[in-house]
């Protein structure tokens, strides 16, 4: 009888163990599925964004994502943020030198990527916007982009069947205000992090460069890294990279500072995801990476405010690049393409 009881206890405890194990597995699955919010990649610097006044929550992020892909942000409900910032193109407007917005009106600059913006303190190619929260005002109200007013957008969202409840989940009440609209969009944008390229794997010691990639990395560090600073591959400064004045004589950062020494300067673009983001430069004038490298390595002439780093000191401008170095450099740049970023379902419509 005692033996039997012991066996029963044993069986019982085994069952309990099984159940608790199952529970553990379930808990683990939930954890994996759980929204993790903004997480700084280990090898990245501290972000510039003010998370203290706008922490990323799951509800806020989901609302921001819906708004990012929401054509009601435009005057006639045809253009969303995602129209010109396409995820599969690294959140740029692939194949367009300058973007077309509402009614196919053409802008004057190339759509910059929505990528790693949490580490940027100023926005747009001229840095005229100094808070990510204020950035969406530009495309929404610009004649060539969405040509809408924020007031109208707020009205459209207030009468929409889903938005009031989404705002309540995100911010505690269904009220839809300018600040909430902009902060939700920021919550989505700061989550657009590209940190899973082959380069990143190498930095995390999960992979090693091939010989060609490694040689290219050294070329990069010697000849490119002072402006295209790791790990963002931009120092988020404004420079004139010597490509010459464009057809529209776009004065770049000068328009913001009215400082002659800023004329023809634009934000240094990141070198991440070049595979998906052609064409290149502020006006999209170069359709291939080779065209860009041709410019740097060859036919560069003096232009007002050309970056001193391009001054070879002998009256010539550009970057010395041998044929071999060029092949190596391209091998390295190829390691900066982040397939995970352009396919990440979390960021998709």
């Amino acid at each position: 009888m005692k033996k039997r009881a012991n066996a029963l206890v044993l069986i019982l405890s085994f069952i309990i163990l099984m159940i608790s194990c199952k529970k553990d597995i379930r808990g683990l699955e939930e954890n994996i599925r759980q929204f993790l919010g903004f997480e700084k990649p280990e090898h990245f610097p501290e972000p510039a964004y003010h998370f203290d006044t706008n922490p990323v929550t799951e509800a806020g992020f989901k609302l921001g994502r819906k708004l990012f892909y929401e054509p009601r942000l435009s005057r006639n409900n045809t253009v969303s943020c995602g129209s010109c910032h396409i995820q599969s193109s690294g959140f740029t407007h692939h194949g367009h030198d300058v973007s077309h917005g509402i009614d196919d009106r053409l802008g004057r600059r190339n759509a910059p990527p929505i990528m790693n913006l949490a580490w940027h303190g100023t926005f747009n190619l001229d840095g005229g916007v100094f808070d990510l929260d204020l950035q969406p005002v530009v495309p929404i109200t610009t004649f060539e982009e969405m040509d809408e007013t924020l007031d109208n957008v707020l009205e459209k969202l207030r009468t929409h069947p889903e938005y009031p409840s989404m705002f309540r989940e995100a911010f505690g009440s269904p009220e839809i205000s300018t600040a909430r609209l902009l902060k939700a969009l920021s919550q989505f944008m700061v989550m657009c992090i590209s940190s899973n390229s082959r380069y990143d794997s190498v930095m995390r010691n999960e992979a090693v460069f091939t010989a060609a990639e490694q040689a290219g990395y050294i070329v990069f560090q010697r000849k490119c890294a002072s402006c295209h600073k790791e790990p963002l591959f931009t120092d988020v400064s404004y420079r004139n990279n010597g490509i010459g004045i464009g057809f529209n004589r776009d004065p770049g950062r000068y328009e913001v500072t009215l400082d002659e020494s800023d004329r023809y300067k634009f934000k240094v673009p990141s070198l991440r995801n070049l595979k998906y983001t052609a064409p290149y430069m502020h006006d999209g004038r170069f359709y291939t990476l080779d065209a860009v490298l041709d410019k740097y390595a060859g036919s560069m002439t003096y232009v007002q405010n050309i970056d001193p780093l391009l001054d070879k000191g002998n009256g010539q401008y550009g970057i010395e690049l041998s044929a071999e170095e060029r092949v190596q450099l391209k091998a390295f740049l190829n390691t900066l393409n982040d397939e995970h970023f352009v396919r990440n379902k979390l960021l998709a419509e």
Binding site: T122, T149, D151, L154, A179
Partner: protein, 269 residues
């Protein structure tokens, strides 16, 4: 004799009332009473009328006005002894619109007392211009449209002053109208110094009547704002030469003119 008594009584009552007026309450920052500042837009010696009235500037150019809007903010009141009171910033932003008569008052609450100087900013201070979007509510909400909006999206910052109208002196724009547009802003730059078109206005109330602020009445400081000075102030602006002035070095010349628009007409106590 009989008839003298009531008039004597009235006289003494009047005297008593006068005497009462002169006793100024003790300054107490918690003892707040209403005070309004009225911005009455004029051009020269006449009232400002939108659209239908033709005015002439110092360059001899005829023009009509279709839109006048400006921010006034950061109000501070001074007493004769130098004591001052700064209206809490969150309650100190007003957008005056010629098209909305109700907007011509900046309604404040200040401690009871007699004030002989008023100081405010024409525009929005640099601190508020760079604050979190949560702190930009009411007239500072950047949600207005291109037509009546007072915010530059592309170059984050408020438009402090807007004047638009028609003049044959202005070249035809894309829409075929001979329109002039003056949008004046610029708080000095966020991370790179640039133009600062914020202007502090200081108005002496002594001559035309100091403000006697008490709880049982509402004192109103009536200012005249001569919009004609925008083009014909310390700097003479020609519509033909500068039909459109926005964010540019030249805008500073107009900002300097804006500072001279305000005069104190009288105070209703």
């Amino acid at each position: 004799m009989k008839s003298i008594i009531p008039s004597l009584l009235a006289c003494s009552l009047l005297l008593a009332a006068c005497k009462k007026e002169k006793t100024e309450p003790v300054f107490d920052e918690k003892n707040l009473a209403p005070l309004s500042v009225e911005f009455d837009n004029i051009i020269g010696g006449t009232n400002l009328y939108l659209d239908n009235t033709t005015y002439t500037n110092a360059s001899g150019e005829d023009y009509t006005v279709s839109l006048v809007q400006y921010y006034v903010s950061n109000f501070r009141m001074y007493k004769a002894d130098g004591t001052s009171y700064t209206v809490p910033q969150d309650d100190s932003y007003f957008l005056i619109k010629e098209s909305g008569p109700d907007t011509r008052f900046a309604r404040l609450k200040v401690p009871e007392g007699d004030y002989n100087r008023l100081v405010f900013i024409l525009g929005v201070d640099s601190l508020r211009s760079t604050m979190d979007v949560d702190r930009r509510t009411g007239v500072l909400d950047p949600s207005g449209g291109m037509d009546d909006g007072m915010y530059w999206g592309w170059n984050s910052g408020y438009i402090f002053f807007k004047l638009e109208g028609l003049s044959d002196a202005a070249p035809a724009d894309g829409s075929g109208q001979h329109k002039f547009r003056y949008h004046i802003g610029g708080f000095g730059g966020y991370n790179a110094p640039t133009i600062n078109n914020i202007r502090e206005i200081s108005i002496d109330l002594t001559a035309a009547g100091e403000a006697k602020v008490r709880k049982d009445r509402s004192s109103n400081i009536h200012l005249m704002v001569d919009i004609g000075k925008v083009l014909s102030g310390q700097n003479t602006i020609s519509i033909a030469t500068h039909p459109s002035v926005m964010f540019s070095d030249f805008s500073v010349q107009i900002a300097d003119n804006l500072a001279g628009m305000f005069t104190h007409d009288h105070t209703e106590n």
